[in-house]
Amino acid sequence: MTPPASMTILGIETSCDETAAAVLDGEGHVLANVISSQHTVHERFGGVVPELASRAHIQNVDHVTRRALDAAGLTWQDLGAIAVTQGPGLAGALLVGISYAKSLAYALGIPLVGVSHLEGHIASAWIDRPSFPRTCVVLIASGGHTHLFHADESGGLRLMGRTIDDAAGEAFDKGAQMLGLGYPGGPLIDQAARKGNPVTVRFPRSRVRTGQLDFSFSGLKTALLYHLQRMDQQAITRQQADLAAGYQEAIVDVLIRQTFAAVRQAGVSALAVVGGVSANSRLRARLTERAGEEGIELGLPALSYCTDNAAMIAAAGQRALEQGRLASFECEAMPNCALPASSGGGTVRRKS
């Protein structure tokens, strides 16, 4: 099967706790973007239970896909290709989306392409701005990842830096937990920090000796823990906003420092920042300010494309098809893969 260069594509995403389907037309415009959250299924556990996530995906995936088709005003026969998340994510959850996508592609006789969830996040920067330069530095910051890539014109990605311990989103979640703000941490710290002063309490900014562009957030987490141990509960409650603001500022500072160092090192004039953490208002404001000062073109996806969604998977699928990548019906879930799923998968390795 040789896919035409542009066609209507269905994206399916089931890597974690959102069942999502989206349809993009041949020019990359989003015709429908449906997300069904499993929040109520996992709420009482305080975290995502893999087995329950898989079951909920099985119940929802067909329904969500039909809703996306309806919203796009299309029928099955209008679809030209299907893109599905192959990993990283929960093994069972991924398998649901992949099995569903395979059967659809087989029944409709259309091409199937497996993409990495990270490729999806990266592609989200171009959904609303197709003219954004392809050659750029990309920061992916989410609950599971904090990675810097150098993207080239042909869509190739070179890893420049990554976190050596916690992801930025994890730092937000754990900080919020320690501050008694609850879950999910990112939006709650963002909210609390707006009422606080970011310089009242200053937390350390970690540097990683071995990799100049790597990130480290576990030292910051420990610094907050020790700081809170010296305070009584009343003082913590009273200073909650300042603590949240100071903690957030430390994360944002480290992200900005490393990201702009990568931009300088790569010698590019465009920067895309994607993933759940890119929804943080302080990060967005600081990035916009700094990019303006340095004359760097900044690509930030719309808030609806920052968190997990299938529009980004469809967009990444379109790119993969342009590169001639196709998945066979033997393709499997790759729970721990990074980039890209169909080119052998495996983990990200640093190129020197």
């Binding site: 974690c16 009482r44 556990f45 305080g46 975290g47 995502v48 239970v49 893999p50 087995e51 329950l52 996530a53 990283p88 929960l90 093994a91 609950g143 599971g144 050596i164 311990d165 916690d166 992801a167 994890e170 979640d173 754990k174 937990q177 320690m178 501050l179 008694g180 609850g182 310089v199 009242t200 309490v201 200053r202 937390f203 350390p204 900014r205 970690s206 540097r207 990683v208 000796r209 071995t210 480290s216 576990s218 030292g219 987490k221 420990t222 610094a223 823990l225 020790y226 809170l228 141990q229 010296r230 509960q233 913590i236 729970p335 721990n336 990074a338 495996g346 983990t347 990200v348 390795r349």
Partner: protein, 208 residues
């Protein structure tokens, strides 16, 4: 930085059961092993050494606060156990993480769960004679917890070191702990390797 003051637990959502090391369960087999970990590299190295010694079916129960080094230890275990370098993250959000390698590895965090909720998670199905199961806050499991297991307690020792206490609770765990001891005492780390990889910039005094 604070001097060595008595440890106080951090605020936050209160867990389902009292926080603390489990004193219930089978008695220790042999003496616990205490050690001081001076950097996250040392924690990682302890994990990697454990990982290379695992033979399948072992249960490791980890205890310790946020930042005590649990994830660093599991990263080390994965390094020693899995064929390919794999990104291991904390199962704080997704409660059970699975990895494939020389042996299958399951990493889970039970902090927020009660014993009755645990049944619904299907965690039981993961524990078999082949899979290595690493459980954070294993005491939440109550009576269902495998009795032959290695308990690892990690705690903060301000300013920057961690203490680890390894307790074998069963014959298989004892064999693992003995093997670990002889392996680790055979190759003590060099001074250079003990140096911390992550340098924290000194925080400026906050204006009051």
């Amino acid at each position: 930085m604070p001097s060595r003051r008595p440890h106080r637990s951090i605020p936050g959502p209160s867990p389902a059961a009292p926080v603390g090391p489990p004193h219930a369960g089978p008695p220790p087999v042999g003496k616990p092993w205490r050690m001081v970990l001076r950097s996250s590299q040392q924690t990682h190295r302890l994990g990697r050494c454990l990982g290379t010694l695992l033979q399948g079916g072992e249960v490791l129960a980890l205890f310790g606060e946020l930042g005590a080094g649990k994830t660093s230890l599991v990263k080390g275990i994965a390094d020693g156990l899995l064929a390919e370098p794999t990104e291991v993250s904390s199962p704080t959000f997704t409660l059970i993480h699975e990895y494939q390698g020389r042996l299958p590895l399951v990493h889970t965090d039970l902090y927020r769960l009660t014993a009755s909720q645990l049944e619904d998670t299907g965690l039981n199905d993961y524990v078999d004679g082949h899979t290595v199961t690493v459980i954070e806050w294993a005491d939440r499991w109550g009576d269902g917890l495998p009795s032959d297991r290695l308990d690892v307690h990690l705690s903060h020792r301000p300013p920057a070191t961690r203490r680890a206490i390894l307790t074998a609770r069963g014959p298989a765990a004892r064999r693992l702990l003995d093997a670990l001891r002889s392996r680790l005492s055979a190759n003590r780390p060099t001074r250079a390797a003990r140096q911390t990889r992550v340098q924290l910039s000194r925080p400026r005094r906050a204006p009051h």
